[in-house]
Every structure is written in structure tokens, then in C-alpha cells.
């Protein structure tokens, strides 16, 4: 059953075709990789999926419980409300706020109490605020950040900042999670730990995950399917072993690494 269908997605920046005619299809519960050399257009695809950029042409359809939503004309916050959450390649936490606040803010979209309750701190306010804290701590526990709840996000070590971004995305209660280079800047041990964590999260949160990553150990290990992007175009699609054997991919992407090694 598909959860996301991307049809002929194109984004031009002036004369540069950052993404051109991309077709993607994700099934419910899948963990799919999106790889490609630097500047291939991967992050741009995420920015299109989450409404930060408006596509030049093409459609993005999200399927959920028998109804489908066209995402290409929606604003980022409505796309998030529709069930798509993400992390950013260059971490975008609310740096001067606490770890707890970062998570609570992502839960705001499902808040029940209104302006009146917030001005007068009514009973509804305190009850729901307590619930928010409880739920946030539960999520923070998964990535072992709960004991740092009162620290400012900017003071966390780099790896934990990446973790917090994942927790924040989970707090938005998505059905589709987009991770942009979650292992960037991590050492092999941290990456292995993260790999396991992503698998665990997918299972326990019943998520579909689309993941951009340069670290092949991670991609090949957990992705069921992989799309390869080069110069804004999908040049290959398949299982990790198919991708490893694909000649065009080796030329465009893996070849680079082979040469470096």
C-alpha cells in the first residue's frame, strides 16, 4: 500500500535543474534510502516534500486511511499536520530553548486548550501542560535525553543535537519521517548505534522512513530500497544489492568512493 507518491517532481533554480522529473513511491512501513553525490538534489527533494520550496512542476500525494492529500500546494505547517515530519541536514533546533521546549513545541499542533486558557492558566491549561511534559519525557527517554531536559539545545554535544532533532520530529506524531543525513559527523560506533535506533523507531512508531545518507554502512544495512539521484534525476532504484551492482550508480557515485579509497 503506497503512503507517498511523487510524480515528475521538478524544481528549477533559475537555469539550474536541482530536481528534474523525479518519481518516487514509498509503501507503508518501508525504510527507503535516497542517495547521490553532493549537490545531486537530495535535500531539495526533502524541501519540496515538506513545502519549504514550491515545485516548478509535478505532484506529491500522501495517502492515509483512505484519503489522499496533494502536498505540492500546501504550506510546511499543514504538511506537518498531514503527517510528514523531518530533520535537517544543518541541524535546525530551537537553540536557545531547553531540550524539553524543543520537544513540546512540536506537540503544539495537537493542543486542545485555547487562548483563554493560556492567558488565565485555567485547569485545562495545567492538566494539558502536565501531559505535554510527561509525553515529551517519554520520547526523550528513547534517545536517552530525558536527564538533559532543562539544558539549552545549543549546549548539547553535536551527536545529541542530531538525536534531539529526531525526537522533535517524532513529537510531531508523523506517519512519514524524513531524515536528512542523520549520521553526518558521527563516528562509526555512534553511527552503528543510530542505525539500530532508526530501525527500532520505525517498528515501534509504525513509521515509514525516507532517509538521505552518505554513510553507506548505514544505508546498505537498514534500507529496504534505495533511490539514487544524480544531477537532479533518479538514475537507479532497487534493493541495496541491486544498487551496489548497478553500473550507472558505480560510475556516478560509488565510483567516486572507490577512487578515493
Amino acid at each position: 500500500m503506497p503512503i507517498l507518491k511523487v510524480n515528475k517532481l521538478t524544481k528549477a533554480f533559475g537555469g539550474l535543474m536541482a530536481v528534474s522529473n523525479v518519481n518516487l513511491e514509498l509503501n507503508q512501513g518501508e525504510l527507503v534510502g535516497l542517495i547521490g553525490p553532493n549537490g545531486a538534489g537530495k535535500t531539495t527533494v526533502f524541501n519540496l516534500l515538506t513545502g519549504i520550496y514550491v515545485p516548478t512542476s509535478g505532484t506529491i500525494t500522501l495517502f492515509q486511511d483512505n484519503n489522499q492529500t496533494q502536498l505540492q500546494c500546501l504550506k510546511p505547517y499543514t504538511i506537518c499536520k498531514a503527517g510528514v515530519a523531518r530533520t535537517f541536514q544543518n541541524i535546525r533546533l530551537f537553540k536557545d530553548l531547553t531540550v524539553l521546549d524543543n520537544v513540546r513545541i512540536a506537540m503544539h499542533k495537537n493542543l486542545d486548550y485555547g487562548l483563554f486558557a493560556s492567558l488565565f492558566h485555567t485547569k485545562a491549561y495545567s492538566e494539558e501542560e502536565n501531559q505535554l511534559i510527561e509525553k515529551s519525557l517519554e520520547l526523550l527517554k528513547i534517545l536517552k535525553l530525558h536527564h538533559k531536559k532543562d539544558e539549552l539545545a545549543r549546549n548539547l554535544p553535536y551527536g545529541e543535537q542530531r538525536h534531539l532533532e529526531i525526537v522533535r520530529a517524532l513529537a510531531a506524531n508523523p506517519s512519514l519521517l524524513l531524515l536528512d543525513e542523520p549520521a553526518a559527523g558521527m563516528n562509526p560506533a555512534e553511527t552503528a548505534n543510530l542505525t539500530e535506533m532508526i530501525g527500532w523507531i520505525r517498528k515501534n512508531f509504525n513509521l515509514t522512513i525516507l532517509l538521505i545518507e552518505h554513510d553507506m554502512s548505514l544505508v546498505m544495512k537498514i534500507c529496504e530500497r534505495i533511490y539514487v539521484l544524480d544531477y537532479g534525476m533518479v538514475i537507479a532504484e532497487g534493493t541495496p544489492s541491486e544498487i551496489k551492482a548497478n553500473k550507472r550508480v558505480i560510475e556516478a557515485y560509488l565510483g567516486e568512493e572507490v577512487n578515493h579509497a
Binding site: C80, R92, K95, F120
Partner: protein, 323 residues
């Protein structure tokens, strides 16, 4: 938790009641003379203006240079109504009408302009305040450049205190709620805020409209206490003065705005005896303080018991070191 909230509420209530009672006592006994009362009123009005602008600029991160425009809407509405209904009820009606009208104008202006960022928004809000001023300058009902004179003074310490404390309590409550955090997240990173489901336009407009509402109240109090209003009182300079209080106290600190409003009023009152040098010294002091504390007096921190404890332990440590 419930108990904690309760005791906190009690502490606040006792503090507020004590402040009100003490000042009332000083007024009754004549320690606070009319001259000091003028300063006290200016302080209260500036607190309302600064805290409400802080909501827009300090907490939500939207640079506004038009706060005096909203203030003037409150001032004129309240005066026009009290001139026709010269009773306390008329004053309260005027005050509420002024605040609501300011909020409405805030919504009408905010919806298109809050899509602009940074400098552009500042210029747009500046333009808005100028347009409001020119409208008041040209209307018959506002008596043009000569302004309006209100024969009665309805604002006394009771109303001053009620509206000042009310503004501070409501805005701090808002900031400490999920809606307030939504506003703050926009200041922190608008793209990330939208990506986690915050409708940034909605919360920018909410903050702007709330800020305008309270600025309207401040304007009403000004007009009713100081009798006289004219368009020139609410020009660019007034907006800048409010912004100075906010920046001086710390963007994103309500207690900072309150402390700054008090300090700046005291400084400028004490300089009144040397009118030639008043503005020069005032400006020099501002520059000096901003050089040493660019984040403002309080930064984005709030005055609280735990902060006191931190300070006192720091002082203790210093003293211990010297001994």
C-alpha cells in the same frame, strides 16, 4: 504539582496586593505627591507599552517600529468617548473600545505585513504608525494638530495598577503556555517552527494583535491621566522610546522590560533639572550601558528566586575569595 502551582499563585497574589496597598498608603499619607505620581504613571504606562512590544519583538522576533500608532488609537478612542460620556464607566468603555480598535487595526495591518521579514517589517510598521498619525491629524473628530483636551482625570492608582499588573500577568501567562512557546519558536527558527507544525503567520498575527491591544490600553491611560493628546505625541520618536526600553531591559525578558521602564523613567526625571544636557546625558548613558551589556539588562532571563540564589551564592564566593 497542583500544590506547587497553588502556592506560586498565592505568592504572586500576595506580592501584587502588597505592592498596591503600600503605594496606596503612600498616596493617602501624601508621601507620593502629584509630581511623583506623574512619574509613577509614566512608569506604569511605559511598562504596559514595553511588555506588549516585547511580546511582538522580543518573544516572537518581529521587529516593529509602530507601537506608538496603536497607543494613539487607544488614546483618541478613549478621549473621544469620555468627552461624550464623562463618567468612570465612560472611561472604562473608552479604554476597552480603544484597545479593541487598536487590536483590529493590528490584525488588518499585521496580516499582509507580517509576511515581510526583518528590516522590511520595521519599515512597514513605521509607515503604518505614520499613516495613523496623519489620519488623526486630518480628522475633525480628533481636532487635527491642536489635539484633544480631556477635562476629567479618571485614571487613579487603582486603575493604573489594575491594568499594569493585568498586562504583565496575562502576557507572562501567555508566554508560559504552548501558544507562547509557538511564538518563541518562530523567533528561534521560523523554518523549523513551520516544519514541526506551527502556523507562523497565525502566531505572528496573534502576538501583533495582542501587543496592539495592550498598547491601546496604555494610550487610553495616558490620555485620561495627562488630560491632553495631540498627534505629535505618538510619532516615530515615541515608538523608538518604547523600543529602547525593551532592548535596554532585554529582548525576551518581561522583568527586564519592567526594570528598564522604572530605571529609565527615574533617570530622565532626575535629569529634568538640567534640561540643556538631559538628552545628551540620557543618550550617553544608553550607549554606555548597551556597550557593556549588549543583550540588555536581563538578557532573555527573568527575575526569579533561583536567580537571586545564584547571585547571592556568587557574591558569597567572591567575598570568601577575598577573605
Amino acid at each position: 504539582m497542583q500544590k506547587l502551582l497553588g502556592s506560586n499563585f498565592l505568592k504572586k497574589a500576595i506580592f501584587l496586593a502588597a505592592t498596591f496597598g503600600l503605594v496606596q498608603l503612600l498616596i493617602v499619607t501624601g508621601v507620593i505627591n502629584p509630581f511623583i505620581m506623574d512619574t509613577l504613571t509614566t512608569i506604569c504606562i511605559n511598562i504596559i507599552l514595553a511588555v506588549s512590544l516585547n511580546l511582538i519583538t522580543g518573544f516572537t522576533g518581529q521587529f516593529s517600529l509602530g507601537h506608538a500608532g496603536f497607543m494613539s488609537i487607544g488614546a483618541y478612542t478613549c478621549t473621544i468617548i469620555t468627552l461624550r460620556v464623562p463618567t468612570t464607566l465612560g472611561f472604562i468603555t473608552g479604554l476597552l473600545a480603544g484597545a479593541i480598535l487598536a487590536a483590529l487595526v493590528g490584525a488588518v495591518v499585521g496580516l499582509p505585513t507580517l509576511r515581510l521579514r526583518g528590516d522590511y517589517l520595521a519599515i512597514a510598521t513605521l509607515g503604518m504608525a505614520e499613516i495613523i498619525r496623519i489620519i488623526f491629524l486630518n480628522l475633525d473628530i480628533t481636532n487635527g494638530a491642536a489635539g484633544l483636551f480631556n477635562n476629567n482625570q479618571y485614571v487613579n492608582w487603582f486603575w493604573l495598577f489594575l491594568f499594569t499588573a493585568g498586562t504583565v500577568v496575562l502576557i507572562s501567562n501567555f508566554i508560559k503556555s504552548s501558544h507562547g512557546r509557538a511564538c518563541i519558536s518562530i523567533r528561534e527558527d521560523e523554518i523549523a517552527a513551520e516544519a514541526v507544525g506551527i502556523n507562523s503567520t497565525k502566531y505572528k498575527v496573534t502576538a501583533f494583535v495582542m501587543g496592539a491591544f495592550f498598547a491601546g490600553i496604555a494610550g487610553s491611560m495616558h490620555s485620561s491621566y495627562f488630560y491632553f493628546i495631540k498627534p505629535d505625541l505618538f510619532g516615530f520618536l515615541k515608538s523608538i522610546n518604547i523600543l529602547v526600553i525593551v532592548v535596554f531591559g532585554g529582548l525576551g525578558s518581561i522583568s527586564g522590560s519592567i526594570i528598564a521602564a522604572i530605571l529609565l523613567a527615574l533617570i530622565s526625571t532626575s535629569l529634568q533639572s538640567i534640561p540643556e544636557l538631559q538628552m545628551v546625558i540620557y543618550a550617553a548613558m544608553l550607549i554606555t550601558i548597551m556597550l557593556f551589556r549588549p543583550q540588555g539588562l536581563m538578557g532573555s532571563k527573568e527575575l526569579s528566586l533561583s536567580l537571586f540564589k545564584k547571585w547571592s551564592s556568587l557574591i558569597h564566593r567572591k567575598n570568601g575569595g577575598e577573605a
